[in-house]
Amino acid sequence: MKNVTHSFVFLAHWPFAGSFGLNTDILATNLINLTVVVGVLIFFGKGVYLLDNRKQRILSTIRNSEELRSGTLEQLEKARIRLQKVELEADEYRMNGYSEIEREKANLINATSISLEQLEKAMNQVRQRVFQQAVQGALGTLNSCLNTELHFRTIRANIGILGAIEWKR
C-alpha cells in the first residue's frame, strides 16, 4: 500500500523527469483526428465561393475599366482626326480667302481709278462749258450795255488809275 501511494507521488512528479522529446504515440497525439479535420477544412475551404466571387468582381471591374479606357481612346483618336481635318480645311479657306481678297482689292482699285479718270474728264468738260457760257454772257452784257459815252468814261477812269500807279512809282 505504501508503494502504491509512492507510485502516485512518483506519477505526480513524473513530468519533471522528462526533457524535450517526440511523442510517437499516434493516438495520444490525436494525429488521426487532426488529419481528418485539416483534410475536411482544406476540402471544403477550396469550395468557398467568397474568394471566387471576389476574384470575379475584381476581374469584371478591371474588364469594365479596360473597355471604358479603350472606348475613350477611340473617341480621342476620332476627335484628333477630325481636328486635323478641320485644321486642313481652315488652312485652305485661309489661303483661298487671301487670294480672293487680293483680287477683289485689285478690281476695286482698277474700278476706282477708271471712275476717277471719268470724273476728271467730266469735270474738265463742265469747267470748259461754264467758262464759255460766262464769257458769252459777259460779251452779251458788254455788247448790250456799253454805249460810247460809257466806253469813254471807262477808258478815262482806267487811264487815271494807270496814271496814278505810274505817278506813285
Binding site: 508503494n3 502504491v4 507510485s7 502516485f8 512518483f10 506519477l11 513524473w14 513530468p15 519533471f16 522528462g18 526533457s19 524535450f20 522529446g21 517526440l22 511523442n23 504515440d25 493516438l27 495520444a28 497525439t29 490525436n30 494525429l31 488521426i32 483526428n33 487532426l34 481528418v36 479535420v37 485539416v38 475536411v40 477544412l41 467568397l50 474568394l51 471576389r54 476574384k55 475584381i58 476581374l59 478591371i62
Partner: protein, 247 residues
Amino acid sequence: MNITPCSIKTLKGLYDISGVEVGQHFYWQIGGFQIHAQVLITSWVVITILLGSVIIAVRNPQTIPTDGQNFFEYVLEFIRDLSKTQIGEEYGPWVPFIGTMFLFIFVSNWSGALLPWKIIELPHGELAAPTNDINTTVALALLTSAAYFYAGLSKKGLSYFEKYIKPTPILLPINILEDFTKPLSLSFRLFGNILADELVVVVLVSLVPLVVPIPVMFLGLFTSGIQALIFATLAAAYIGESMEGHH
C-alpha cells in the same frame, strides 16, 4: 510484494490514457520572473506563421490577384470592414491594431486546434494555443485598454474624462468600474473559451481516441474563430466608443 509493480504498471497505463494536464507549466527563469515557456514557444510559432504569410502575401503583387493574394486581400478587407463598422469614419489608423489583435488571436486559436502540438514533449506541461494561457489574454486585453484610452485622450484631450460623469455624476463609480471590467471580461472570455475547447478535446481524446472528438474539434474551430472575432470587434467598439461624441 508481487502486486506492487503490477499496480504501478496499471496506474501508469491509466495515467497515459487519461493524461490530462491542467495548470502545469514549463517554466523558464528570465531575470526575476518565471516565464511560461510553452506559451512563448507557441506564440513564436504563431508569429512565424503570420510573418511568413505576410511575406508570401506581399512578395509578388498582381493586378489580378492570384489565389493566395486574393485570400490575404479578402482578410484585409474583412478587418477593414470590421474596424469601419465599429469605429466609424476615422477607422484608418486603427486597422493595424484591430488586425493584429484579430489575426494573432485567430491564428493562435486555430493553431491550438489544428497543429499537432502534442508531438513535442516538454519537460513539464504541454504545448497548446497561446490564448490557452491567461497571461496572453490579459496582455491582449490590457493592450486594448491602453489603446482605447490613447484613442480617447488623443482625440479629445482631457475632456475625454467628461464621459465619466455622463449622463449623471451618480454613475461615476460604475463608469470607473467599467474600465476595469472591460479588460477583465475580454481576457476571461477568451481564456475560458479556448481552455474549455481544448480541454474538451483532450478529455474526449483520452477517453475515445478516434472519430468521437472530431465533431467537438470542429465545434472548437468554430468557437475559437468566433472568439477571435468577438475580441477584435469589442476592442474596436471600445476604441470607437471612446472616440465618439467629439464636436
